[in-house]
Amino acid sequence: MADDPYQVLGVAQGATPDAIKKAYRKLARAHHPDLNPGKPAAEARFKAVSAAHEILSDPDKRARFDRGEIDGAGQEQAPAGGYRRQAEEAAGARYGTAPPEGMFDDLLAEMFARQRPDGPRAGRDESYLLKVPFASAVMGATEELTLPDGRVLRVQIPPGVETGQVLRLRGQGGAGRQGGPAGDALIELDVAPHPVFRREGFDLRFDLPVTLREAVLGGAVEVPTPSGTLRVTLPAGSDTGRQIRLRGKGVAGHGARAAGDLLLALRVVIGPPDAALEAFLRDWVPEHPQDPRAGLEASR
């Protein structure tokens, strides 16, 4: 099924012969195959444009196409692009004397020196992206990375890595040539966020929910940390926002760098309605009455 010649030339159905000629010339200039030796697609495009023009430039053929008597195939024009096939072969020397021989020798020598195939050449560095679970970035781990060629790299993740950091695995990139060394694998890390813990440098932050009883009376509570569950003793009268620092329980140490801390911020949770608690509070007379909003007015 041939294309609609109006669409090929990009003109309206009612276009004047002048408009058709203009559109045809414009497209022919852009796609003439002899002017586009490096673009094979230009030839097909030029043929389609010529065939469309063949139909639309002939009032008789155009009318028959409009009535649907012929399709858009039209008659094949003399094939353009014959010159470029000749000109690139040895025969082209007949017309190719314009640039003195040697005009491009410096350029060519430069190009081929850069990719001289003799002598050892190092392989390319290859870049990869590795998603790292939050816990692995905090404690360090070994993650596996499957390469496009099926190889599996075991990547040592040191504790404390951050998103965007790049690890270099020597000799794991592209193969070298002629005995040259292999390139490196450059592995960019993407550390997943954690729903509860937040990284702040090498410290971790965590909002610890506590009950009203735990906040008022204090006592031991169990706290999940990346390095396992810890028992933490809360002091009595721990208000919301109170911060507890667990030294060395943040991001694990690495080499000379000491481990970070885990900072807990307490958050009192009252929980569902409790009749006994309500009854108690109704009758309760505070030992030291206080207004937690005292001083807020002054700042208005």
């Binding site: 022919a28 000749q86 082209g92 017309y95 190719g96 004397t97 081929f112 003799d118």
Partner: protein
């Protein structure tokens, strides 16, 4: 191989006067065989190209030598690159 008469029969838009003028200007370079002009396949295609440049692309008389010269340089470069590519393949 073609004579000038065959060539003018081949292209309806071509007159012997145009062709002789192009030969004079060096745009078309047929062989001279015992006083008779003989056109090879590349010359025939070159005549077609010049006709298309003139009649379809509206390249005028004055611009024609410029366009042909640039095309000649382009094809000479492509030929050189291709030769150089072949040479590299052979040494690899």
């Amino acid at each position: 191989m073609m004579t000038i008469e065959m060539l003018c029969l081949r292209f309806a838009a071509l007159t012997p006067e145009d062709l002789l003028h192009w030969i004079e200007e060096g745009h078309v370079r047929p062989d001279d065989q015992a006083g008779m002009l003989v056109f090879r396949e590349i010359d025939v295609e070159r005549v077609r190209l010049i006709l298309e440049l003139r009649d379809i692309l509206e390249v005028n008389e004055a611009a024609l030598p410029v366009v042909l010269s640039l095309l000649d340089q382009l094809y000479a470069l492509r030929r050189r690159l291709r030769e150089a590519g072949i040479a590299v393949d052979e040494t690899a």
